[in-house]
């Protein structure tokens, strides 16, 4: 086609490779997610704790600053596993708030206007489409989880004596792994829930329900059956244990004791599989009515 001629013209130029279409979905998804002022607001809110943590790191490594606030004992403001555990937990739960807003935007607009038949009639598979959305959400959550936490780690490494970074390298790896596991789990779960609840506000509520309602059920199961295995339904508890172990922080044991790490990982993987199944059922160009 040509505007000045206003007649049809076939396209004979070069075509992008198939894998690039996934990035196209991701790019448009990312843009859709960040076009909302609420997303920007939540992002700014998520950056406030890292600013506070940066100040703490500065004070902890600066004797003059400590003297100004009247804290002369360096042990009281020690930057270690416990400090970074608090940072990781804070950022991770803020990431959940952000995900519960962004994921319904990523899926909701496509589902509300029945865009899937047109989207999937292009050379992109259902897997590619979901992967593109996943990348958009995962990328957005990265900006508020492992990216600021690693910046904190780098700042602490720079501010403290040289051996600190080498001695605590495992801390960085643990934080990275803990954040990646959490945002990957959160991304799959949020996309799955959003694909089933078309109304975006309801979808946001449903995401919180999907995380916290099973926790309550798990607590009841544990109390009634007097077993610790009910806590396998408690995502916040499981993630806290996992983060503590990854960072080597002192473990907080609940009333029923600890859960083995493999059981936690299997449970998270099972939840991801259920979410993938939900996406597989929902993300289709056509619905087949049986009977």
């Amino acid at each position: 086609m040509s505007v000045y001629r206003l007649n049809y013209r076939a396209y004979t130029g070069k075509v992008t490779p198939l894998w690039m279409r996934i990035l196209v979905v991701a790019r448009y998804g990312f843009n859709e997610a960040w076009s909302s002022r609420i997303t920007i607001g939540l992002f700014i809110l998520s950056l406030l704790p890292p600013i506070v943590f940066l100040v703490i790191i500065y004070v902890a490594n600066n004797p003059m600053a400590r003297s100004i606030i009247g804290s002369y004992d360096p042990e009281k403001m020690k930057i270690g596993a416990s400090f970074f555990l608090i940072a990781l937990q804070t950022q991770s739960w803020l990431a959940m708030v952000l995900a519960s807003w962004v994921a319904p935007r990523l899926m909701g607009f496509d589902l509300a206007d029945n865009a899937l038949p047109i989207l999937l009639s292009h050379p992109i598979s259902r897997f590619g489409y979901v992967l593109g959305k996943f990348i958009a959400l995962f990328g957005s959550l990265s900006l508020v989880t492992w990216v600021p936490i690693l910046i904190l780690f780098v700042d602490q490494s720079y501010s403290s004596p040289v051996p600190w970074a080498a001695a605590n390298f495992q801390l960085a790896m643990g934080m990275m792994a803990g954040a990646l596991i959490w945002i990957a789990f959160l991304s799959v779960l949020c996309l799955a829930v959003s694909s089933w609840v078309r109304w975006r506000v309801l979808a946001t509520g449903a995401i919180f329900a999907a995380v916290f309602v099973p926790s309550g059920v798990g607590a009841i199961v544990s109390a009634v059956l007097r077993t610790k295995w009910g806590f396998l339904l408690n995502v916040p508890y499981m993630m806290s244990l996992l983060w503590q172990r990854l960072l080597g922080a002192p473990e907080f044991l609940g009333r029923w004791g600890s859960l083995p790490t493999p059981a936690i990982l299997i449970m998270l993987a099972a939840a991801c599989l259920v979410s993938v199944g939900m996406l597989n059922k929902r993300v289709r160009a056509r619905e087949v009515v049986r009977g």
Partner: protein, 323 residues
């Protein structure tokens, strides 16, 4: 080689056979897909796009297997679905650009062609408005624009005139006609409106109960019926009929001076006027009957235009239907 080859295609959905042993080759520049509700038109389109896996048989588009090579086929096809299907939160140009990029166009080229496609279909002035503010006719047009933007080789239009007012319908038909005339893109048009297919298509596939009821070239069909003529005359009708028979025409006379005849190849309508003039017969009306698409459709469905079941002899009439 046809653009679409059906080879014993069977598709089952939800335990029900929706397409049952379709075999044929579609090679027209604009192919009409007709059939009553539930005949399997949309299922056939979905199978062509690789959305459904054939239970038995194969379907090939441009010589490629519709399921195995679906990514490649989708890159060459532009699809305009029947129902509303768009991203309402996006502006028109952004939506069309997104679809063009998904089809494989580089970002800059996709933007350029999105603008062109929107101007082409007549949405140039509203291209920055969000799609969910468009009227029904505009939504149909933007579906057409996104199907065209990447320059497909095959354009699949599912009920393109659905819900359009007469003006918008005329505009849509005109656009489709222009695209067809340009020649670089083949068209597959599914519609309930026989008139739409009649105006645009040169080949028609009629489905009934998941089977092919007719697959024919509309132009050839019309040509084969051009020799059938109905006359209304005043004067010596019997003598006129005898003279016409002497020319080699098959002829039947009816009360009121009505005559039906079939002209042999070497006789033309003007010869009838010559004979009538010689014998003082007035030809008040000459109707050169041409088989309308409706006739073809009703014959394929086994009904007459009045709704009565068609006689078996008429159904079995050789109408250049290739099954």
């Amino acid at each position: 080689m046809g653009i679409i080859e059906l080879n014993g295609l069977e598709v089952q959905l939800g335990g029900r056979t929706v397409l049952d042993g379709l075999t044929g080759e579609l090679q027209g520049r604009a192919i009409g897909l007709l059939g009553p509700n539930g005949a399997g038109k949309s299922t056939l389109i979905n199978t062509l796009l690789g959305f459904h896996l054939p239970t038995r048989g194969t379907v090939r588009v441009f010589g490629l297997d519709a399921h195995r090579d679906r990514a490649e086929i989708r890159g060459r096809v532009g699809y305009m679905p029947e129902n509303d299907s768009f991203i309402g939160n996006m502006s028109g140009v952004r939506f069309v650009r997104y679809m063009a990029e998904l089809a494989g166009l580089p970002s800059g080229m996709a933007l350029e062609r999105a603008h062109e496609a929107l101007f082409y279909v007549g949405l140039g002035e509203v291209r920055y408005r969000k799609v969910n503010t468009y009227s029904l006719g505009m939504k149909q047009l933007i579906k057409l624009a996104q199907a065209l933007a990447h320059g497909p080789r095959l354009l699949i239009l599912d009920e393109p005139t659905n819900g359009l007012d007469p003006m918008a319908r005329q505009r849509m038909i005109q656009l489709i006609g222009e695209i067809r005339k340009e020649g670089s893109v083949r068209l597959l048009i599914s519609s309930h409106l026989l008139r739409d297919i009649d105006e645009v298509c040169d080949e028609v596939l009629i489905l009934k109960g998941g089977r092919i009821a007719a697959l024919c070239n509309i132009e050839a069909e019309r040509r084969s019926n051009r020799s059938f003529i109905e006359l209304e005359t005043i004067g010596a009708t019997e003598r006129f009929s005898t003279s016409v028979r002497a020319l080699g025409c098959e002829c039947a006379s009816f009360p009121g001076g009505r005559i039906k005849l079939v002209l042999p190849e070497h006789i033309e309508a003007r010869d009838l006027y010559v004979i009538a003039a010689e014998q003082g017969v007035q030809i008040r009306r000459l109707n050169q009957r041409r088989d309308s698409l409706e006739d073809i459709f009703l014959r394929a469905m086994g009904n007459t235009p009045t709704g009565q079941p068609m006689p078996q002899s008429e159904i079995e009439r050789p109408v250049h239907v290739r099954l």
